[in-house]
């Protein structure tokens, strides 16, 4: 392997190098630290480097591998965490100024599981403050400053999992853990050309992660490939007594190639009104998928998806942050909108929240039934290119989702993975999402992985690789 390709290797490739002892976890960790400290600073993707603990974890992984102890595909692989996930002894800021130095006493369940899998935690990564939960309309809505998109640093990486997506795209961590309440993994994955998986609700324990909306929040991986998403999900999933929403069903990543080919549903009208380059790459993806399966057009059932999400999130987010809102410290947040936006939730009658949850039940049943008929249902993840890093993006987003497949998946609790579908002439990634029935992660990941193989985009490198030019000073600190 060319040494320049090393930082952009998949988890599978890095694991192979580690097992053949062509590289050590210590060397790999040092490599990524150097990149986190340079490219990561330039992008504003990093909040805290955890060098001391990481080097100890890497040394342990090396000694275990040397002794023949194999903890699985993540053994010795460095990773980053969105800074809403707690690590004992390391600051967990939620991207918010009032909490920038707060240290929580416990490890999140995902952190414990990744440690058990032998992964090496190297950094807390940037997030929009409160994972966007207080409302925001500008990339600057975090105390670390706007996170730049490695494909064009004049554009934003997307939120709210800004750091994880930018870091993976720039090859400064091989994988990262993000969170998604209504699109916060899929959107930044789409804009950075990474693979982002929002797994079935309940697959991954949220214990130790910031709560935004109890019935919507999910943690999930952002990786270089769909296959990597499956490997990481296997390591972090499973029942957890500390999060009663977790499912008992065990997840094992098992790639599938159906005998008769993949059954793909393409959302009717999904490319209508989106950016021409996004539509063109989507149509090309459909053509490629038709060579490995059967593609047919499908329509989403009609529901007031956006209204249900608005009401549920208003009620649950207000309940989650009632004390913080009452403290008046919203005035310290970076987003002006965040100062008062969430207060509206205080005025929502309980019966309207219950009404929304009842309609949600209809949605979940109908949408899951539709998804069950396919290995994956596809659509462009988002119909607009990455927003400018200095611009208010709220105006562009309503038209960027011509079909509510994202919201349908949010409310159904079903899995969706977003992968790159190509690039525009100006070098920005375009994306396609694969949505599946609940618990059908292997189907959607397999279909997405098959398309990745056909597209062959993995060798493409962002401009940040050639020019480590600075856009800001960053706010990186060492734990």
């Amino acid at each position: 392997m060319n040494v320049d390709d090393l930082p952009f290797s998949s988890v599978t490739q890095l694991g192979s190098l580690l097992r053949r002892r062509e590289i050590s976890s210590t060397e790999l960790t040092q490599l990524y630290f150097e990149r986190l400290d340079t490219i990561g600073r330039h992008l504003n993707a990093v909040v805290t480097l955890t060098e001391e603990v990481a080097m100890a974890e890497a040394a342990l992984a090396d000694s275990e591998i040397l002794r023949g102890l194999d903890r699985g595909p993540l053994h010795g692989i460095p990773y980053g965490l969105k800074d809403i996930v707690s690590v004992a002894g390391v600051a967990t800021s939620w991207g918010a100024e009032p909490f920038r130095d707060r240290v929580l006493p416990h490890d999140a369940t995902v952190v414990r599981r990744l440690r058990n899998a032998g992964a090496v935690h190297v950094a807390k990564l940037a997030t929009i403050e409160f994972a966007g939960g207080m409302g925001y309309d500008h990339p600057e809505a975090t105390f670390t400053g706007a996170t730049a998109n490695p494909w064009d640093v004049s554009t934003w990486a997307g939120g709210s999992s800004t750091g994880p997506s930018a870091a993976v795209a720039a090859g400064i961590v091989p994988f990262a853990i993000g969170s998604d309440t209504s699109g916060s993994i899929l959107l930044p994955a789409a804009w950075t050309g990474t693979a982002g998986l929002r797994a079935t609700y309940g697959r991954v324990s949220r214990f130790g992660a910031m709560t935004l909306c109890w019935t919507l929040d999910r943690l999930g991986p952002i990786c270089r490939t769909a296959e990597d998403c499956g490997l990481v999900l296997e390591a972090i999933s499973g029942v957890d007594p500390q999060d009663t929403s977790t499912l008992k069903a065990t997840y094992r990543y098992q790639p599938q190639r159906p005998k008769g080919g993949f059954r793909i549903g393409a959302i009717a009208g999904a490319a209508k009104g989106v950016e021409p380059a996004i539509a063109a790459n989507y149509e090309r993806s459909l053509a490629l998928l038709s060579t490995i399966g059967h593609v047919e057009e499908v329509a989403l059932p009609e529901f007031p998806y956006d209204a249900v999400i608005d009401v549920i999130s208003a009620a649950e987010a207000f309940a989650a942050f009632d004390d913080f809102l009452a403290s008046g410290r919203t005035m310290e947040l970076a987003a002006h909108k965040a100062r008062s936006h969430r207060l509206a939730g205080a005025l929502l009658p309980a019966h309207d929240y219950i009404r929304a949850q009842r309609i949600r039940r209809h949605i979940a049943t109908s949408v899951n039934h539709l998804l069950s008929g396919f290995d994956a249902v596809v659509a462009p993840t988002i119909g607009a290119f990455a927003a400018g890093i200095d611009e208010n993006f709220e105006y562009m987003l309503p038209g960027a989702f011509p079909q509510p497949i994202n919201y349908a998946g949010v409310l159904t609790g079903s899995p969706t993975v977003s992968i790159a579908s190509g690039f525009s002439n100006n070098g920005l990634p375009t994306s396609i999402q694969f949505a599946g029935a609940r618990l059908a992660e292997n189907s959607v990941l397999s279909a997405a992985s098959a398309l990745e193989d056909l597209l062959g985009l993995q060798s493409r490198r962002p401009p940040t690789e050639a020019a480590h030019h600075a856009t800001t000073d960053g706010n990186v600190r060492k734990a």
Binding site: G135, Y201, G202, W214, T215, L216, T244, S245, F303, P304, D306, A307, V308, D310, V311, I312, A314, A326, G328, M331, H336, K337, R339, S340, H341, R342, L343, A344, G345, A346, L347, L348, P349, D352, I354, R355, A356, Q357, R358, I359, R360, R361, H362, A364, T412, G413, R438
Partner: protein, 94 residues
């Protein structure tokens, strides 16, 4: 969807489900916003920090919430023939 008005309080009532309770309708949004702003100012004790922009953002949020609630009520009205279903919150429903 029509609303009747309570003679005594001039608050729009929800006539769509024979409810006698006020709903979060557009006509009460400004009243609610002013009341909320007043409460927030009092709770925070920092009146000087609350700006017109904050009031504006709260007003937008309330209007969005009102629109969302309207949509849910409309959906229920249009699907009145749907069989009733048990209430299960997200954690267990999923």
């Amino acid at each position: 969807m029509s609303n009747t008005r309570d003679t005594f309080s001039n608050v729009p009532l929800d006539s769509t489900s024979n409810s006698c309770y006020p709903r979060l309708t557009s006509s009460v949004t400004s009243q609610i916003m002013m009341a909320t702003e007043s409460i927030v100012r009092e709770r925070l004790g920092e009146q000087e920090t609350w700006t017109q922009g904050d009031s504006g953002a709260l007003g937008v949020a309330l209007r969005q919430l009102h629109d969302a609630v309207e949509k849910l009520h409309d959906y229920e009205l249009e699907n009145a023939d749907e069989p009733a279903f048990a209430l299960e919150f997200g954690d267990t429903a999923l």
